[in-house]
């Protein structure tokens, strides 16, 4: 029998080694898998390379992982924010390597890794600082830049509902990087607020087919609305 459910976030992340590349879903705090990040901090793996759109907000989640000194390098598109003080400090102290990637390239490089694509040409960033040193080529009369896939050892993502095969649905814009990161990692760990029996999720509406997911952890629902959780 296939059963990808894990009893806890700690159990789901017990084998993350030092030096691992870990994708973490979320755009800002929407879709950020807080329980998994907390478990990763607790677990203690060091020298991590993190792939996320941002570089942490406030003092919790990804920001706390950075503050704990566990991250060697971050690959992201938008590190600087009003509340990214932990990233800002570590970056200025030279303790954190930054690979800055245009957001569309970040998404497509992750997608490429998941789809077995060895690289792609895109007009994005041509002629800018972020294309320096990269191969470029004229295609259909327009200059393009060569970009390579981003693979990961682990992807930590937040979904809404799931089943023991790992099929997932998401909630509104919390979907963001979840479905593509799930495809690009050797081990994808997803949190869900509802774990349902096989056959319960509408097959026409499953967003991430279970084969992309290795571990599913149920976590308590957290409020996303000022007045408490509003059912979708």
């Amino acid at each position: 029998m296939i059963d990808k459910t894990c009893p806890s976030a700690a159990a789901a992340l017990a084998d993350v080694p030092d030096g691992a590349t870990v994708m973490i879903g979320g755009f800002g705090t929407a879709g950020q898998p807080n329980e998994l990040i907390d478990a990763l901090i607790e677990q203690g793996a060091r020298h991590l390379t993190i792939v996320n759109n941002n570089a942490g907000n406030g003092d919790t989640g990804l920001a706390a992982l950075l503050a704990a000194g566990r991250v060697r390098k971050i690959i992201c598109s938008f590190p600087r924010q009003a509340d990214s003080h932990h990233f800002d400090r570590l970056y200025r102290e030279g303790k954190l390597e930054l690979e800055l990637v245009p957001q569309g390239n970040l998404a497509e490089r992750i997608r490429a890794a998941g789809a077995g694509i060895g690289g792609f040409f895109t007009p994005t960033s041509y002629g800018t600082l972020l294309a320096e040193g990269k191969e470029s080529r004229e295609i259909n009369g327009r200059m393009h830049v060569l970009e390579f896939p981003i693979h990961a050892d682990y992807a930590l993502i937040k979904a809404e509902r799931g089943d023991r095969w790992g099929n997932l649905t998401y909630r509104m814009t919390a979907r963001n990087f979840g479905p593509i990161m799930a495809t690009a990692a050797k081990t994808t760990v997803a949190t869900v607020h509802e774990l349902v029996p096989l056959g319960t999720l509408d097959p026409e509406a499953v967003v991430t087919p279970g084969l992309f997911v290795q571990r599913v952890v149920q976590v308590a629902r957290t409020a996303t609305v000022g007045a408490g959780f509003k059912t979708a």
Partner: protein, 218 residues
């Protein structure tokens, strides 16, 4: 500068209203963070316009009523929004395929500088101590069918933001087609800068004096 004394600069809302006039019924539009977001408040009621946000939503509605904010439903500026009937959600690779694949009609961005040929600088000041952040700026700039820029005509120091060549790091080359400032609407491109409209009380010559590139009359 006596020929600029009677001019009435456009306010941020007037700039937004002017941009909104140029957005056609049925258009799919991405509004950048900051000033461009105001355009949503000025779209004519008789036009159906679909708003896309690169974090993964299309068919965005107005801001929710106080207390009804849901932080799973946000725009690219991470502000809570609502979803109109017909709107939907998608993951980031699909969202950027919409942008980069040329499926979005109009993108409106802010800028530090724009060149007369439509080069854009809006992501990085290049200052040695600045922490760079690019987000979707480079994808948005080159991906939409038309890229508009909204910006003040002059810097706080009084320098023209329409420049012969951008001195800040580039976001994209020859990607902007029209700019909306607090003084004028100007087309940019291979033929240079062409004034479409200027604020009342500002002569063409006075506008030219404030602008660092040669202007042409439409």
């Amino acid at each position: 500068m006596k020929d600029t004394t009677t001019m009435q600069k456009w306010t941020r809302d007037q700039m937004a209203r002017r941009v909104a006039q140029d957005i056609a019924d049925g258009a799919v539009v991405n509004l950048g963070i900051g000033l461009p977001t105001l355009v949503a408040n000025h779209l004519p009621a008789d036009r159906e316009v679909i708003l896309h946000s690169e974090n993964g939503v299309i068919g965005m509605g107005p801001a929710p009523a106080p207390g009804q904010e849901d932080y799973d439903l946000i725009n690219a500026g991470k502000q809570p929004v609502t979803l109109l009937p017909g709107g939907c959600f998608f993951h980031h690779a699909d969202s950027f395929a919409m942008m980069r694949g040329g499926h979005v009609d109009v993108c409106v961005l802010g800028a530090f500088q724009v060149s007369a040929t439509g080069d854009l600088a809006n992501w990085h000041t290049g200052a040695p101590d600045a922490i760079p952040a690019v987000g979707g700026a480079m994808d948005l700039a080159i991906g939409a069918k038309r890229t508009y820029v909204m910006m003040e005509h002059l810097t706080k120091g009084g320098e023209s933001k329409l420049v012969p060549a951008c001195t800040y790091p580039l976001t994209g080359i020859a990607c902007v087609s029209r700019i909306y400032t607090d003084l004028a609407v100007i087309d940019v491109g291979p033929g240079g800068a062409v004034v479409i409209e200027q604020v009342e009380g500002l002569s063409f010559d006075a506008l030219q004096k404030l602008t660092a590139v040669p202007l042409q009359r439409a």
